[in-house]
């Protein structure tokens, strides 16, 4: 679920084009329709993203409602939001209380490469936010509170193998900053929105697209996340994935396109709307919101 484009950051690679000046936010009515869908169709996971999903005024109510149901709750937290004010400073405890699995972007284990992508000072703030999550038990053995990190390359190149990056991040964050986490997901940057602008302006577009196409992996294609999900936009429309959502590439007309009329059976047999951006999901080890797919 993409609950809105409002965000306290404005990262260079953001595929949602999110930022502090965006006004699109999911309404209570759409949230309620999503809850009905959860009750009816029993998905295994509800994955909340944005923008900064925590900035939606209905966010906490919705998470509390979800936590009464047996569904895994995932929140894509950009970390710096935790430091934005006292109100957001309560988030680590709120997440822990509601057994939310936290997934957070950290482009690199060093400040320079992280700040280049996400803005000056973001690395230091992210480390502080991770410490606060660790302090309530996230990423610590035996607590069951899961904190996963997301890596995506700070430029026009592919991610390193996920397990190797995870080892590097763990060593550096543990030794340098005493920060713990559970798993690291390595994502490939998809050529859309701000990252596409960057590719075009920097003259890297052609080479990057050629590399993506050359690295096409049928096994990764068979594991693409759109095969097992439905993506709900802030205004209640349904898409094959978050990327199609921001591109406004609608689901095929053979299926209902609004959350109020979602039909799981029809959705599972739909034809997925694809475009050249899909090569980002199918290159090499594959890429999804949960990292490599192969």
């Amino acid at each position: 679920m993409n609950v809105g484009r409002l965000c306290n950051q404005a990262c260079k690679h953001c595929h949602v084009d999110a930022g502090p000046d965006r006004t699109e936010l999911m309404s209570r009515k759409i949230f309620e329709a999503c809850l009905r869908m959860v009750d009816r169709d029993s998905p295994s996971t509800v994955d909340l993203t944005g923008g900064a999903p925590e900035m939606n005024p209905h966010f906490r109510w919705f998470v509390e409602e979800l936590s009464k149901r047996s569904v895994k709750i995932l929140v894509r937290c950009n970390l710096t939001i935790i430091l934005a004010s006292d109100y957001y400073g309560e988030l680590p405890e709120f997440f822990a209380r509601n057994r939310v699995e936290v997934v957070s972007s950290l482009p690199f284990y060093q400040a320079e490469r992280t700040d280049r992508q996400r803005g000056t000072g973001v690395f230091e703030k992210s480390i502080e936010a991770l410490r606060r999550l660790n302090a309530v038990g996230y990423g610590r053995a035996g607590t069951g509170l899961v904190l996963n990190l997301v890596y995506n390359p700070a430029g026009a190149f592919f991610p390193a193998p996920q397990d190797q990056l995870e080892r590097d991040f763990r060593k550096s964050l543990d030794e340098g900053h005493q920060v713990a986490f559970n798993n690291l997901f390595a994502l490939t940057n998809l050529p859309i929105n701000r990252f596409l602008d960057y590719l075009l302006v920097s003259g890297n577009y052609e080479t990057y697209m050629e590399k993506l196409v050359e690295a096409f992996n049928p096994v990764a294609a068979s594991g693409a996340m759109c095969r097992s999900m439905v993506s709900v936009s802030w205004d209640g429309r349904l898409y094959d994935c978050d990327f199609n959502q921001v591109l406004d590439l609608p689901a095929q007309p053979t299926v209902a396109d609004r959350v109020e009329s979602f039909d799981r059976g029809a959705w599972e047999h739909r034809i997925i709307s694809t475009g050249r951006h899909c090569f980002g999901c199918t290159a090499g080890a594959g890429s999804s919101c949960g990292g490599a797919t192969t």
Partner: protein, 111 residues
């Protein structure tokens, strides 16, 4: 005149065998592939060595290729730059150590 080095030309490297000496080219690429496989050294260590050597032999194609490759193997800027310093140190050292020959010759000519 076109510039000698164009990044796009690297894409043609694999086709040198089509122009001539195909059997040798095929053997070269097979050997090259073997060299860079994970072995006693990791693929990342090999890539950093390649980046250092690329600077020592000053090959623009190899510098671009192994800058990308080391990034894709998760190397940090410090790791990449330290590799280049190693190459530079050996190059510089190789000049400096020859000054021993200078000293030996000078001494042999001097009273």
């Amino acid at each position: 005149m076109n510039p000698y080095y164009d990044s796009k030309d690297l894409g043609q490297f694999g086709k040198i065998g089509d122009f001539g000496a195909k059997a040798s080219a095929d053997k070269f690429f097979a050997w090259y592939g073997e060299v860079f496989k994970e072995g006693a050294l990791t693929a990342r260590e090999k890539s950093l060595i390649a980046l250092a050597v690329a600077h020592a032999v000053q090959c623009p194609y190899c510098i671009e290729a192994y800058t990308t490759d080391t990034l894709e193997k998760g190397c940090s800027g410090d790791q990449q730059m330290e590799a280049v310093h190693v190459a530079a140190a050996i190059r510089g050292g190789a000049s400096m150590v020859h000054s021993v020959q200078l000293m030996n010759k000078a001494r042999s000519l001097s009273m």
